[in-house]
Amino acid sequence: MAKSIWIVMQQREGKLHRMSREAIAAGQQLAAMVGGTASAVLIAGDDALAAEVAAYELEAVKVAASPALVDYTPGAFVGALGSAIAAERPDYVLFPHTYQSVDFVPRLSQEVGAALVPETISFEMVGDEVIWKRPILGGKLQSRVRVKGEGTVFATLQSGAFPVDSAAAATTPAAVQAMALGDLVADREILGVEQAGDDEVDLTKADIIVGVGRGVGGPDKLGPLEELAERLGADIGASRPVIDNGWLPRDRQIGSSGQTVAPKLYLAVGISGAIQHQVGMKGSSCVVAINKDKSAPIFGISQYGLVGDLHELVPALNAALAESE
């Protein structure tokens, strides 16, 4: 029997989260692999947004529209998705692995009795079984897991694993359908929000980022890097140890537990390139790195590299850039 795949979109104020498009790409791929159809589920969002999603090659766009869903709360989201999943029993439900899905998807999986494979990077068919691939131990290992038993399978998708441009457009737009909703309970009243970068910058919108790592050695050593960022018109991001040590504020953290960025140029300085960091920046158009260790994993995803002591190289680079200005 043809399998049904649902792809849950994440949006805010009428704009799709970048990873929603990646999820569409993944859903189309999964549908082709298992033999089935993929539909998008749009929670709130207006007609224009529904039309935008319907422009992708999909069976349908299911829209859950209710005032209770306009602002995210886990209660209302679990209520809306839970009753629809229980009623229609899709075979697979895909979610982007975001801060929002981390908050409500485990609960949803329990309520509908679905298995949940988190942060997958790919899937393949072995016999008639789907095998999900996900990195473990910070990417030092790759695991391949299968799900036991029958029933709906949930998977969340790692940022950057399924390129947006592989999502196929529709020849004729997908049908937009309203989803039946029961009573929804918004279970959080948000008292205040702070947008990252309100005060200074929004790293997700930066064209150029200078990424600062533990190799920099201390907050007093940031001067040349700030100068470099200024010369390039770049914003400064950082790896987690830099945040944990208090050298830079938390909104600068890039990686699996920080922000996900995709600038045109990412210059990694004194960053080893642990998988948790890579997850947050490997979508950059071009990565270049400065590191004293030529076997550092960051060079594995860089286009250009400079091997040596950053305390010597960065000031020299500043001087060279100043000269060419």
């Binding site: 805010r12 989260h17 886990p74 801060y99 929002q100 981390v102 485990p106 609960r107 999986s109 309520e111 298995a115 949940l116 988190p118 990195p135 473990i136 131990l137 910070g138 030092k140 290992l141 790759q142 695991s143 391949r144 897991v145 299968r146 036991k148 959080r188 009243e189 948000i190 008292l191 205040g192 929000v193 702070e194 947008q195 990252a196 150029i208 390039l232 018109g233 770049a234 945040i243 944990d244 040590n245 938390r250 699996s256 537990s257 045109k264 140029l265 270049v288 060079f299 594995g300 250009y304 590299g305 400079l306 091997v307 040596g308 010597e312 190289l313 020299a316 001087a319 060279a320 060419s324």
Partner: protein, 269 residues
């Protein structure tokens, strides 16, 4: 506030990839000379709890599901000044998937008492699944809030600051709740004093077995797993396609590198 913090022991995630071995038969990472450490986000949770207790009073109980080795994690937490510690001893703990772990922790929590706030780390540094908190909340029938970076007691209960995809949001909740803690500049774990580490070994530690929690049924045992089966683990292959910029001297290398960087930077303007 009565606070319970769940702590997981993991293989040190900082060991370099080249020192890493796997046992394909057992589908496990080989420990070798690697250290076992407390998962960093669990330590962020404990630090958050210690700060909450210092402003609002109450007690902190730490709980782990692990083997004999896991006692170290709890002793360290006691040295950081947690009040009580409990270990659910289970040789298969390492192989538990999040649902199994959540069931064990939930049963232990019910046995240990009643708590206003139950804290977990946002994810572990080994399997990185990040579901235990959410599943634990479901097992206990409590609300779950992921990715909390700060919380304080106020007249309505707890004021929570949580990270979102675009920044942070603030709201109030009425305990009891389960929350997962993420790292922030405010919850860098304190380093216990040597004297307190020594003293921690004289503090009582409650040990529970799966039988004590009525979880000895093999189908409920972590070794049985709930919904995953691991098909294989492998060491990923790395391809290096990076051009390391060369030159006869530093100046040449810097110039060549600066030109490339400036060229790419120019395309963004």
């Amino acid at each position: 506030m009565n606070i319970l913090v769940c702590l997981k022991q993991i293989l040190d995630p900082d060991i370099p990839a080249r020192d890493f071995r796997i046992d394909p038969e057992r589908r496990e990472a080989v420990r070798g000379s690697a250290d076992l450490v407390t998962n960093i986000f669990c330590e962020n949770a404990l630090e958050t709890a210690l700060q909450l207790r210092s402003t609002s009073g109450g007690t902190i109980t730490v709980l782990s599901h692990g083997s004999e080795d896991t006692e170290d994690v709890l002793r360290k937490a006691l040295a950081m000044k947690a009040d009580e510690a409990a270990l659910v001893l289970d040789q298969d703990a390492e192989r538990a998937d999040p649902l199994q772990a959540a069931r064990v922790l939930a049963a232990a929590i019910r046995k240990l008492g009643s708590f206003d706030v139950i804290m977990v780390g946002r994810e572990s540094g080994d399997w990185g699944i990040g579901q235990t908190g959410g599943l634990l909340a479901e097992e206990l029938g409590l609300p779950f809030i992921a990715l909390v970076e700060q919380l304080e007691v106020d007249e309505r209960g707890l004021r929570i600051q949580r990270q979102t995809d675009t920044g942070t949001e603030i709201f109030e909740v009425t305990p009891p709740v389960v929350i997962s803690i993420t790292n922030s500049e405010n919850n860098l774990p304190r380093i216990p004093k040597t004297r307190d580490v020594m003293k921690s070994y004289r503090k009582p530690l409650t040990t529970l077995s799966l039988a004590d929690l009525s979880l000895e049924d093999p189908s409920l045992s972590p070794a049985a797993g709930s919904y995953y089966r691991l098909a294989e683990i492998s060491i990923p292959e790395k391809e290096i396609r990076c051009e390391l910029v060369e030159g006869d001297n530093l100046e040449q290398r810097i110039d060549a590198f600066a030109r490339r960087v400036a060229d790419i930077a120019d395309t963004t303007r």
